[in-house]
Amino acid sequence: MPKTETLTVAAKGELEIVMTRVFDAPRSLVFEAWTKPELIQRWLLGPDGWSMPICEVNLVPGGSYRMVWRKDAGGKEMTSRGTYREVVRPERIVCTETFEDPWYVGESVVTTEFADREGRTEVTMTMKYGSKEARDGVLKSGMESGVAVSYDRLEALLASKSAR
């Protein structure tokens, strides 16, 4: 297995979350994995113990998508849908995103950019939420999923960040 690339996540301003990650594959392939339903279903699985049985994508400006995740135990479902605003293959996608039975309020706009880095691909996702409350709610939901940084781990965390 190749070594895992670093994922950076940052809150930007009041409304945005920005994520950056490099993938060891050419841009066209990363773009396909990101946009073809049968490939999306193999990696965008949701939290542990979930899978994505339904994925419909109409990747054209004005086209829409629908993704349904299902919890293997109990069958609970979560649905996200949205509309593509911009599609520039294999560089850039702008789409809206809403969740049924929403775990955050309102609609977000997701901009995904694919940059060629000498045969590898750097992906930057910018999620822009409708309000500060919605944005902070998204970040907070991660915490509620059961991963909290204890004070004991602060030192290690800071050391690893400052060592970069």
Partner: protein, 131 residues
Amino acid sequence: MELNGYVLSSNPAGLDATFAALADPTRRAILARLAQGEASVTELAEPFEMSQPAVSKHLKVLERAGLVSAGREAQRRPRRLEARPLAEATGWLEAYRKYWEGTFRHLDALLEELQSDGKPRRKKRPKRIEK
């Protein structure tokens, strides 16, 4: 606000102030140093090859964000780490990051499989699965 003789920022950290303060590598290094124990401005300036005024400037940002407080001891005014706002901010981001890290590892594996030719695994040419 005063707590155990340390003066906390009167307008403590919104998350935004915390994130902005954390965005700078020098400030993160200062926090890492303070995680080992309180230190004066002089002591903090030492490892960074920075002037004391420059370090003071970073400390002001950290203090405004509620991440660092200053002791009242007149000469030394030791700074110390305020763990709670930091734990909140990093806890939120860290959990979110963890989730996506796991998800992107699945994508790594998929991309590797899609690129591996002649392996015993099922070969999938992206073009053939185009709809």
